[in-house]
Amino acid sequence: MKQDTAAKMMIISACAFFGLALTMGILTALKFVVPTVGDIEYLSMPRLRMLHTNINLFGWLLQANMGILFWILPRILHTKLFSEKLGVAMGILYNLTMIGGLIGIATGHVKNVEYGEIPSPFDYLVAVCWVMFFINVVGTVAIRKVKYLYVTVWYTLGAVIWTTFVYITGNMLSQMPMVDGTNQANLIWFYVHNAVGLIFTPLGVAIAYYLIPKQLNTPIYSHKLSMIGFWVISFVYVWTGAHHMIHGPSPHWLQTVSIIFSFSLIIPVMAVITNFFGTFATAPRGTRMNGPIPKLLMMGTVYYIFTCLQGPFQAIRSVNEITSKTDWVVGHAHMALFGAFSYYAMAGVYYVAPKLAGRKLYSEKLGDLHFWIMTLASVPFFAVLWIGGVIQGFAWLNPEITFVQSLEALKHAHWMRFFSGAFIFGAYFLFFYNIMQTFFGKYREEDEAEAVVAE
């Protein structure tokens, strides 16, 4: 089978799913201002929300990351993918599973697992795909032609191992008959938080660790920091799930443990970020920000800092009293999964797609435009969620204000979210068009020739 078929297939379908996910997002945002639009069962707000999160997490982000890594890993390890056939089979199964799972969600067949609503048997099939991915990753590492494992490989290995347990705990164990009440809630929050922390963080960071030095043509700033970042995150991330229940009906000690570990997360995050910025700082000045790839990597890193400083801050009991359960948390989640990790994934797609197509990116200019529109729209998008969240949080403290009055105060914030979201949605099409043109479009032949030489 032709090399990189799996990577190509997964990247293309991930990009398509991204559009679908954003469509669900913009519809959800619209429902917050005009709740009566599309007043039918399949378009009710919770269904849209579940589709939005699941398509983003699994259809787009996970799939894009897997596709990009299918391309990156063999390059770092100087070998071929362990089994291209297995990769393609997994890609096909994965996409069919997604479609089945999403139809399940749209028709109301859901699990009570946030981020894991995909019903069985589709969730089990996701796990099967994951095992296939696992085999391919470990196999590729095993047949490598280099001695040392680069940071990207550590993070990928970590992710495939951790995720296996995290996914099974959240989606399967939490649904076992003897697991109920707050015990179930604890398992589910273990999953929800670690889906972000031990699936998307390591995969995103793995990709950035490859792309930043490659793109800037500068070695990574500090090998020691890479090690500290990786080993500390392996230990501390997993403890933090219970910070979703601060002040709630779960054991007090567990909440305290999660708060302490939420704070320790500053260590690995700062190690990673110092490393990334250090690499940017030591890169050749004139060209380091050319084109969409370094811009996306830089902005993704900035958003990564913000999310990761917000995390410990929100876990402080007194702050949590204001921010928890409000729109603030929605802003926080978007900054991690959209701001940081989708930015890394888009950078990865911009980097890998031309390689897969064997020619230059269709248009760097269009890529820049996509970056600027998306970024300038995402700033007010996040900000308005945080501001709205704080307004809400303080309104709830005041017994004079009824619940609906607090909703009234958010009307403007929700409109702002819709409009800034619409710009993000619009910018996506520039990205999609650019990538599709790169793969399938017809454009000037000399560019093509040049790209092949550059290989």
């Binding site: 009566t36 707000m45 946030e114 590492v141 109920d180 707050t182 009906p249 403290l397 619940f403």
Partner: protein, 194 residues
């Protein structure tokens, strides 16, 4: 023998797994062992009827949890806001949930918390509310004005009459494990099926 972790697939993988496993076990398996109230209790906890169980299934598939939490946190503001006739709502305890096959504690309050909503409204009120939260008809005149403008709860008009009844039956159980709404003499009201 010197082990060079960075050259070894086995050592990197084992190391990453072991470090992770410590936290994973201590935060998932250990809590129910040291805090049995997470899954068992001496208190009497309401057993759901068949109808209420159908209501739970609807609550789950309609995703009410994405807008409503079911937990009175240990905060004065929660207790007061979700109280009733100037009586503060009691804080939610772990044991109240032991019969909840599916937990709906939730993380987002787009709408009010529902942990103590059982019995606060009549089933007729819920009926009208599920049909159209923005226009509950002449019978509930205090729901005019601001609600029409800002309630963003979806109307669950597409549910069948049976389904709305099942869902309401479930909603009316919420909070009854702590029989907290009392009459003037301090006797529990126990008026959940009204």
């Amino acid at each position: 023998m010197k082990i060079d972790v960075e050259k070894s697939l086995l050592w990197t993988a084992t190391g990453a797994f072991l470090l992770f496993a410590v936290g994973a076990v201590l935060t998932t398996v250990v809590p129910p062992m040291v805090n049995p109230e997470m899954w068992t209790t001496e208190h009497t906890v309401h057993e759901y009827t068949e109808q209420e169980k159908r209501g739970i299934a609807i609550y789950k598939s309609e995703g009410c949890v994405y807008c409503h939490t079911q937990q009175i946190r240990d905060l004065e503001s929660d207790q007061r806001r979700y109280g009733w006739r100037l009586v503060n709502a009691p804080v939610s305890s772990s044991w109240e949930y032991v019969n909840d096959r599916y937990n709906f504690l939730g993380t987002k309050r787009t709408g009010p918390d529902l942990a103590r909503v059982g019995g606060k409204y009549s089933s007729e009120w819920h009926w009208a509310h599920f049909k159209d939260p923005r226009n509950m008809g002449e019978k509930f005149p205090n729901r005019k004005g601001i609600y029409e403008k800002v309630s963003i709860m979806p109307s669950f008009d597409y549910l069948t009459d049976e389904e709305i009844k099942d869902l309401t039956a479930y909603i009316q159980t919420l909070g009854r494990n702590k029989n907290w709404r009392v009459n003037a003499e301090g006797q529990p009201l126990n008026d959940y099926e009204k």
